[in-house]
Subunit: 154 residues, 2 copies
Amino acid sequence: MRLSKKTDYALRVLFTLVEHHGRGPIPIRELARRNDVPKRFLEHIMLEMKARGWVDSSPGKQGGYVLAKEPARITMGEVIRQFDGVLAPIGCVSVAHYERCNQEAVCRFRRILLDARNYVARLMDRATLAMVFLGAPVQTREVFAQEFSAGDGI
Amino acid sequence: MRLSKKTDYALRVLFTLVEHHGRGPIPIRELARRNDVPKRFLEHIMLEMKARGWVDSSPGKQGGYVLAKEPARITMGEVIRQFDGVLAPIGCVSVAHYERCNQEAVCRFRRILLDARNYVARLMDRATLAMVFLGAPVQTREVFAQEFSAGDGI
DNA sequence: TAATCTACGACTAAATCAATCGTATTTCAT
DNA sequence: ATGAAATACGATTGATTTAGTCGTAGATTA
């Protein structure tokens, strides 16, 4: 059930870039220092984020990284899926990477894992960097309760 | 965010034992076959569950494993914590295994991870084997919403 | 007394994680 | 021009975790 260091580091850095949005590039050295992330490790993470189009880079003096998308258009769910591969606790309740399980027909606890998966996925997919940065409530339980009682089956 | 095979296997077997509760021991061989779990691997899992007092064993012919506690007194949360160690997505929001993070004061996304952790922990800690076996609703979102608006801080 | 169980430590193969290193390439201030 | 400062990126590594297997000892009972 754990988040990898990569995801943790990526999120830390993204929020630093959100904070600095529109005020020029920040070099990896600085991103690493400010977020307590190993610099050489961060290089790979930044590359991956650039490939995803979340950040952009410029080399040379005065170079560094900037956010390439609006903070409201990147979600924590995307970041976690990028670096951890999957959000669901087990393959048989994953939407993005469903894996058939031959016990599925008789499994008693799949419902519960699906419940957990659904809550977390909704939460993370609504958590845009912009909202989280501002500390705005991402998902009130009231809203979630309404949606749920509207029914989403299994 | 993933459940280990050990936890998955342990849960499968526990529900088989719940189903058979009060009708004598089932040998590992049978538990393994019915739940599609490697038998030699399951031995270790059963030992660990015996140490926790969830199951009891008898050797010899007609031997095997039985549930040692009422199904209403074992929760999925306990099982997951036993085999996966922790329920929280990251150390800084774990109750059972809290780890200090020096970014905590400035971290923007801790709230969200805490929200996820709280929902999942509540869900799993309420999910007794008895209720899950019966397919009874473990945690209505309405109830959760009320509790939340009552306030639980960070 | 032999078949059938559990008990339990030793071992291992493979995957994943969390990096580090070397080096190439691009850019820009001077 | 040129050198300092930055990104680009593949190769490698060490540690840990995962997911088992194996051998054998010991208990029970038909």
